[in-house]
């Protein structure tokens, strides 16, 4: 009987050695790739005028209530159209970066810039990996990350997992849901696309196939500041264009690599950390989390083997008892 016990210890030691093998990359599962017909969104901060029409369109399209906040120097002016951040009532928001005298747009020092925030629709989403009940899912064809309230148990692990802090909880609702941008996927079947892009007057937010958007972003990075460019409006392949003077871009496409890549990409004239975007590695944290779990629990073989050893050991001990 000693043999079983030794076997059990070997298995136990073996599984800890597996963990001890070090090298994070060894345990990571391979990264995921962009779905074949991935749709996306591209936000160009340099041509955003901060009109917030996208916020209004988002609220209307998703039937979200207004949020009551206060503004002004002494926080004394009550308003209904100025949510301060994303929340259970707000899926999309335009925020402003200001520095010093805030004289010029798209300028880091003494300038200002806008940033649009909503779900990034990650290629390898941590929220989907975290969700125990498949309430958050990534559409295998177009890549949209959707939420199903009938599955959700409200554990909020998605909120812990999301590197962009996107999923929001309805804290004041006794029967709450997780809320976040779903690219207006309910409009897709009507042949429409994301409301924020449809109503953006300048083409700052545009919708389209993810690969076309990336191509467009790369093209804009080759433009010279001061030259004129015909910016497409609403969708990347739109006939409707807006001729505008090109601002100086930061030579970086945010979202191309972040957290394994996202289907929402951005360009800006001001560094992205100034706009509040987190600096992330180019791998999703889901890769290590899933790698760790599946190394230990693959096919439940290791737990089954350990259980067998434990049953033998326990049987032996309790038998001696009697």
């Amino acid at each position: 009987m000693d043999i079983e016990r030794r076997d059990f210890l070997k298995i136990a030691a073996g599984s800890s050695l597996l963990l001890a093998a070090g090298e994070s990359s060894a345990l990571m599962r391979p990264p995921k790739s962009m779905p074949p017909e991935a749709v996306g969104m591209f936000y160009d901060s340099t041509i955003c005028i901060g009109c917030k029409v996208c916020q209004k369109a988002c609220k209307e399209s998703n039937k979200l209530p207004a949020e009551h906040t206060v503004i002004g120097p002494e926080m004394s002016i009550p308003v209904w159209d100025n949510p301060i951040d994303l929340s259970g009532k707000t899926y999309n928001i335009i925020k402003c970066y200001k520095s010093g005298t805030a004289e010029n747009k798209n300028q880091e020092e003494n300038g200002f810039a806008f940033i649009q925030r909503h779900c990034m629709h990650c290629v390898d989403p941590a929220c989907v990996s975290a969700c125990p009940v498949s309430a958050l899912r990534k559409n295998p064809t177009n890549g949209v990350v959707t939420y199903n309230k009938d599955a959700c148990i409200g554990c909020r692990y998605c909120q812990v997992a999301c590197p962009f802090n996107i999923p929001k909880m309805e804290w004041d609702n006794p029967f709450p849901q997780i809320r976040k941008c779903q690219f207006c996927d309910h409009r897709f079947k009507e042949g429409k696309f994301s409301a924020c892009c449809e109503f953006c007057p300048t083409g700052a937010s545009i919708f389209g196939p993810a690969k076309d958007l990336l191509e467009e972003a790369r093209k804009r990075l080759t433009l010279k500041p001061g030259q004129y460019y015909d910016y497409p409006v609403a969708t990347v392949n739109s006939k409707q264009k807006q001729r505008q003077k090109v601002a100086a871009y930061v030579n970086y496409i945010y979202g191309e690599k972040e957290a394994g890549g996202t289907q929402f990409i951005m360009l800006s004239g001001v560094p992205f950390d100034k706009l509040g975007m987190p600096s992330l590695s180019d791998k999703s944290d889901a890769a290590l989390s899933e790698g760790l779990q599946h190394t230990l629990y693959k096919g439940m073989i290791a737990p089954a083997a350990v259980l067998a050893g434990l049953i033998f050991a326990a049987y032996r001990s309790t038998k001696n008892d009697k």
Binding site: S134, C155, A161, P176, I311
Partner: protein
């Protein structure tokens, strides 16, 4: 198996009423939570979606409830039968601890009425660490009560049932070792996916191993703690020879833990963060000093043979493991600028209330059921 006896004595005592009062306050706030939502009673936010209900009630609470697991490992797997008298009180505390953690989860999760979705195969999502933790804990609560059930059977004098139960018990004992091994490590793995939001002193792929080793250590510490506390409060003799022998295992466990802990930090080159003098660094130092104290005390026979030093070592180790968990779930967690978390009064009282229910019920059980070892002159 009949070496245990009810401790006897009055049920309604001063301390009992004290815990019942705290429980009532907690329950009132729980009712408020179900009527007005989580925001009405807690300081939880979209930045800090998990607060003390998860960090304390579930993560620390189940580690405190590892006495049954740690002893089963020793008594049934390593076949050290001499510790058998300690098993039953430890199992009872574990059963209560895990049941209360389960109850806390039902307070914490937003859409509790759909929690059974976890058990529906078409919803379960096998990449989720949370799924593994949830299923394991749910199953383990069941296993713990089955392991404890012979106590009820003895009390009811159901001899036939007791015999069958004892014959089949080895299966549940084995499950009762496997399941905590799985979920106590996975409770650590939970935080891996939070990536850069968790400070590098705690964000490591070794966090499952650290969580598991510290949970086993806390299991032995809670056995010592509970033995000393119930002996003192019920005016019984402390089971010293057994406890001091048991405490000899603890320095080994802490030693292995600290080797993994510091080895990992040195290999990743992050140990320097501990000495920045900031809140996170200082909490890391405090956490590890609390681990080192019982290591030093219990390494010497003198430390193991004094009830006082045994008790303080156990308390220190329990605090150490708790702080490690608080650090990894709350203090080391930073979702970005603008977010803050400190538990509200009502949120804290819900936790206090749930713990009070557990303590009050434990007091009733040990007095009426054959749980504690028969000391001959109890």
């Amino acid at each position: 198996m009949s070496e245990a006896k009810p401790a006897g004595g009055k049920i309604v005592t001063g301390p009992f009423l004290f815990f019942v009062a705290l429980a009532v306050i907690g329950v009132i706030f729980i009712i408020k939570r179900y009527i007005y939502g989580l925001g009405a009673v807690s300081n939880l936010s979209d930045g800090y979606p998990w607060g003390i209900w998860i960090a304390y009630d579930v993560v620390v609470g189940t580690a405190f409830a590892c006495g049954g697991y740690s002893l089963a490992l020793l008594v049934y797997i390593m076949n050290k039968g001499q510790y058998h008298p300690l098993v039953r009180p430890a199992l009872l505390a574990s059963a209560f601890g895990y049941t209360m953690a389960g109850a806390s989860i039902m307070v914490d999760i937003g859409r509790y009425w759909q929690s059974y979705n976890l058990f529906l195969p078409w919803y379960s999502q096998v990449n989720s660490v949370m799924l593994e933790v949830a299923l394991c804990i749910a199953l383990y609560v069941l296993v713990l009560w089955i392991e404890f059930s012979p106590t009820f059977m003895e009390w009811l004098k159901a001899k036939g049932l007791l015999q069958t139960a004892n014959k089949l018990m080895f299966i549940f004992i084995a499950l009762g070792v496997l399941l905590p091994t799985m979920h106590q490590s996975s409770l650590g793995t939970l935080m891996v996916i939070s990536g850069k939001k968790l400070y590098p002193l705690w964000q490591t792929q070794f966090i499952p191993l650290l969580a598991l080793i510290s949970a086993i250590g806390m299991g032995y510490a809670i056995v010592i703690f509970e033995s000393v506390v119930s002996a003192t409060s019920l005016k019984r003799e402390i089971e010293m020879p057994l406890l001091s022998k048991l405490s000899g295992i603890i320095p080994w466990i802490i030693g292995i833990y600290l080797i993994v802990r510091f080895g990992d930090l040195i290999i990743r080159g992050q140990l320097g963060l501990a000495f920045h003098g900031d809140l996170k660094g200082n909490f890391f130092l405090l956490e590890n000093i609390l681990f080192i104290i019982p290591l030093v005390i219990l390494a010497s026979p003198a430390g193991r043979n004094s009830p006082r030093s045994l008790f303080y070592s156990a308390v220190s180790l329990l605090l150490a493991g708790s702080l490690f968990r608080f650090d990894a779930f709350l203090i080391g967690f930073n979702p970005g600028p603008g977010w803050h978390y400190f538990p509200s009064f009502s949120e804290t009282m819900i936790t206090v209330g749930i713990v009070s229910i557990e303590i009050a019920a434990y007091m009733v059980f040990v007095k009426r059921l054959p749980v504690l070892p028969d000391m001959g002159h109890a």
